[in-house]
Symmetry: C2
Subunit: 238 residues, 2 copies
């Protein structure tokens, strides 16, 4: 027998929703959820209240309603290209990510960087260049600018291993990015740092990463084409 918390100000439909979510955590797709009337009796609430709770879970894609049958755990949706950090990208490939800082300092934004970051030219930005390795071998050169207004004390706090983890801890984990991807040939300095022959093919990525409606990072990365293939999922799921 379950009861609802009272006096906490938490709406009943939220409590019912979270109860059902907890109930079905780790449940296989196809598992039956409690029926709406069952929850009505259990929590002594109106059916519309239960429906509001279930509606939310259906909207999330966790549950699926089948008229006349019941409500069931849905097949998990395809994961629409979640934004991965470099470490996560490499981990997904079974590679160990490492990073070597080439430059990290406070600068004044030039016109191009300012426009991309959505700040005023002259505003303080963090300029961070890294050579990124995977399983010990060079993989990528990254040249990033961060909006320093959003990240006070970032340089002083000691550079983090994962930028996205650091942003996450400030509630600024990027959930959206606009990328451009192009093929090119490595320049001389790039070739040296990436330890490839000059004229080797590379993948150039430009990124604008957005968190909480604000641009937190703009970057240009150069990946060794012989070590890196980019995977993307496009479109909308049903």
């Amino acid at each position: 027998m379950e009861g609802l918390m009272t006096g906490t100000g938490v709406p009943k439909h939220v409590q019912v929703r979270e109860y059902v979510r907890g109930l079905l955590r780790d449940a296989e797709p196809g598992t039956a959820a409690p029926s709406e009337r069952e929850l009505v009796h259990q929590f002594h609430v109106a059916r519309m209240t239960v429906r509001q709770a279930m509606d939310a879970l259906v909207g999330e894609g966790l549950l699926e309603r089948i008229p006349g049958r019941g409500t069931f755990v849905a097949q998990p949706r395809r994961d629409v290209g979640r934004l991965l950090s470099y470490s996560e990208e490499m981990a997904a490939r079974g590679l160990l990510a490492e990073s070597q800082t080439l430059l990290a300092r406070r600068e004044q934004a030039g016109p191009g960087v300012a426009r991309a970051l959505g700040v005023t030219p002259g505003d303080a930005v963090i300029h961070w260049k890294r050579l990124r390795r995977a399983d010990g071998l060079p993989m990528c050169l990254e040249d990033a600018y961060l909006n320093e207004v959003l990240l006070p004390g970032f340089l002083q706090s000691g550079m983090p291993t994962s930028l996205y983890d650091a942003l996450d801890s400030r509630g600024l984990r990027p959930t959206w990015a606009e990328d451009s991807i192009a093929a090119d040939i490595a320049g001389q300095q790039e070739a040296e740092l990436l330890e490839v022959a000059q004229g080797s093919p590379v993948l150039r990525q430009s990124r604008r990463a957005i968190a909480e409606e604000k641009v937190v990072e703009v970057s240009r990365s150069v990946y060794r084409a012989d070590r890196f293939t980019w995977w993307v999922q496009l479109g909308e799921d049903h």
Copy 2:
């Protein structure tokens, strides 16, 4: 004064929803929607019915509720990388897309193509190779396999200009794709067809395009790096 259709079997909340949608078509973000009680009086329905209609529009991202203020047309959501056809991709760049078929025939699926398309080796597939141009100049070589079971009479019906339009007309417009993107150097034959020097950088794209939960197309494309940059939006919107 609006009225609801009766006897059509169309739920009231659907009719209210579509009425509001029509009312706000072409409305600027920030425009106020009718209040819930206003719609209650207008259509002589219960408020829960109106809320059900509005809930759907809020879920779609068309409307936004502001407690104590009202309901308003929301800022349009960022467009999560809608799947564009080649013609659409080029049009978005202000280029005119053309296509020259190099090969188009029925084949038996080999093991690799069969696995990618989700058919049995030996099943009939459509093999279609094209040289794609933009503003008259070579842009891309595409080598595609289509699931012929889903596309009966496709080859006989005359090859369409746009594959995605042709799929669309059969209700099989891909809404989802898994792409891989890599940088490479053009091979000899590729270089000739694309009219670039051998050793020029190219972008290689592999695609699995899915419509209605079925794989309809798998393809490999080679883009001239000097003419093509790929744009992607990643992540989930709020």
